[in-house]
Symmetry: C2
Subunit: 354 residues, 2 copies
């Protein structure tokens, strides 16, 4: 058996108000160049924008995440940075949810690797180390702050740029930054972590490293969404970090596979796609789905329904294609012989419930 030599984010700062230390952290990387900040445009008219430690020589890019990150958006951002200066930036800083962090990772990679981001969707296709890059979540649950992927929708597929170079060099985990997220967005993003734990802990790929992280992440999610308290933001932020770490030797399952199809064809955001799919997966994850519904009730969340109304056949087929190609997810969920129990028709029936 061969194990993954897991790349871990090498610098972590955690604590309420630690965002105030960002300028000092970046000052150690500054020489005579500039830094690029990618910031969720939700902060464009928010007092938080004035706390971003942008120097006069720096570049600030407001990022729109109405759509899930696309390879052509990455290419366009990289073009803007190259137009801004002929030299490489000294850092790329992503401030936002999973989409903004993924875009920051992708921009940092594509500044030092030729071609389009779409050329690198896959595993270990990146040739050169990225520009120094920092992740600062303002929504927690995706685990994007620790993962070795940046999930992108390309012309052909939704698939990450997976490489050790993708991993952030530094993350800044300040629970105060997630305090103002809208309740539904906070819930759906948190459920990305919770569902991921359910899938990995019930999966066939798992060892004690990932199990320990997954169990604690799950317990923290249970606290946050069933017994909220004054430290819920702190706990949600650590749940996301632990959930991301647990991916080292585990894999997600049925829900994430179906959710990828929903995102690709319907443009659903990852968190909401997971929640929509998970609610119909009692046969695979009975305890998890039961608890998920308790969390929804406790948090007053209503899922969108009837998403398949008027769905054309070719789009349904594409959705099934996108889900089916994720073989490791199916194998983790259903074992080596998963093809004997899962097929296009069964996936179609699952989608038709949604």
């Amino acid at each position: 058996m061969k194990y993954r030599n897991f790349k871990v984010v090498p610098q972590v700062i955690f604590g309420r108000g630690c965002f105030n230390q960002l300028d000092e952290i970046l000052s150690q990387k500054r020489k005579n160049g500039f830094i690029v900040f990618l910031v969720d445009d939700v902060f464009m008219n928010h007092a938080f924008r004035h706390r971003i430690p942008r120097h006069s020589e720096d570049m600030l890019l407001w990022i729109n995440v109405t759509d899930e990150p696309k390879t052509r958006y990455v290419d366009s951002l990289v073009g803007q940075v190259r137009q801004f200066s002929p030299s490489l930036p000294e850092g790329v800083i992503g401030i936002g949810g999973g989409s903004v962090m993924d875009l920051a990772k992708a921009v940092a990679l594509m500044l030092t690797n030729a071609g389009s981001a779409a050329d690198y969707q896959g595993w270990d296709l990146i040739k050169n180390p990225a520009v120094y890059h920092v992740g600062i979540p303002t929504l927690s649950g995706t685990g994007a702050e620790v993962s070795r992927t940046t999930v992108l929708t390309g012309p052909e597929k939704k698939l990450g740029i997976n490489s050790d170079y993708t991993v952030f060099d530094q993350i800044v985990l300040d629970p105060e930054l997630i305090a103002d997220a809208p309740a539904d967005q906070r819930f759906y993003t948190g459920m990305d972590c919770y569902i991921h734990c359910v899938e990995s802990l019930r999966g066939t790929y798992l060892n004690t490293f990932s199990q320990s992280y997954g169990e604690k992440a799950m317990a923290l999610c249970q606290d946050v969404f069933l017994n909220p308290g004054a430290d819920s933001d702190d706990k949600l932020m650590i749940a996301s970090y632990f959930g991301g770490m647990s991916i080292a030797y585990s894999q997600v399952g049925v829900c994430h596979a179906l959710s990828y199809g929903l995102s690709f064809v319907l443009g659903l955001h990852h968190g909401i796609g997971n929640s929509v799919a998970f609610d119909y997966l009692e046969e695979f994850y009975p305890d998890g789905v039961k608890e998920f519904r308790q969390m929804m009730a406790r948090q007053g969340i209503s899922l969108p329904r009837n998403l398949m109304a008027g769905m054309e056949d070719h789009r349904m087929e594409k959705m099934i294609d996108v889900a089916l190609v994720l073989e490791p997810l199916w194998e983790n969920a259903l074992g080596k012989n998963w093809k004997t129990v899962m097929n296009r028709e069964r996936i179609r029936q699952l989608y038709l419930r949604m």
Copy 2:
């Protein structure tokens, strides 16, 4: 409030048998130089020695850990490496318990920093990055595999070389390597982790990052020592890793302070010193001490007793000095006003019980 920007070991491999991947991992660092292996001399006549991926150009140093690591031992090892070759090694690999790992960290640091290891006992005194260094535990519990210190006994004091450069570049966590440790050593080293969790979780320095790691480490220790099973080695190894990570934003307490004195004056190993001291600290840690005694009973461990018999006054005074100087530990345990409740006489009385 200012938070520590915590340096994390950037590459982790975990799994039964993953030690077999060491040669492949090192091959990525090899150019035309050599690698130094520091290996616990308990393996000198053990089949395991043949599994060490030593190439003909490499250097192997058998390490004796009868005594706790001393600065002059570090200096002597560094001298041997310099005598072996005028050029720096491409890696320093420590294979053993906490003492061997600490020595490997110290040698990697002192190869690139002039003078004696004793000159760098303290915080952030190291000037230059270390040689690439890898930690491979064969005993679990100290957290030395993840810590930013290497605890050394110098001519004047027992104090670590604390710096971000101290942290390993890679750790190899193979639970099979800890399977053959003697039961008492395994217990005392495991108790280093357990006691550390008790102290940090009850301390006044703590946040959710450290609490989450500490709680899970403690739960894993409880499993290992009260309800052992087939995966106990895996769990103990992760408990140690989590315990080490929890130190980021926490601190140890009364037990570790007293244990440092025991080590300095009596030469007690750290794990056994902790256990000896902890057994008399019911007034500070009532639940922890109770559970610790259950673990001792379950594991059939008898502590050494009457350690103070015939203790000369000047040695007792020195022991109190060593314990008292550890101000952050006392403050963590007893609060900002700890000096109103702890003094030389009370420490003497605590030592006299042992």
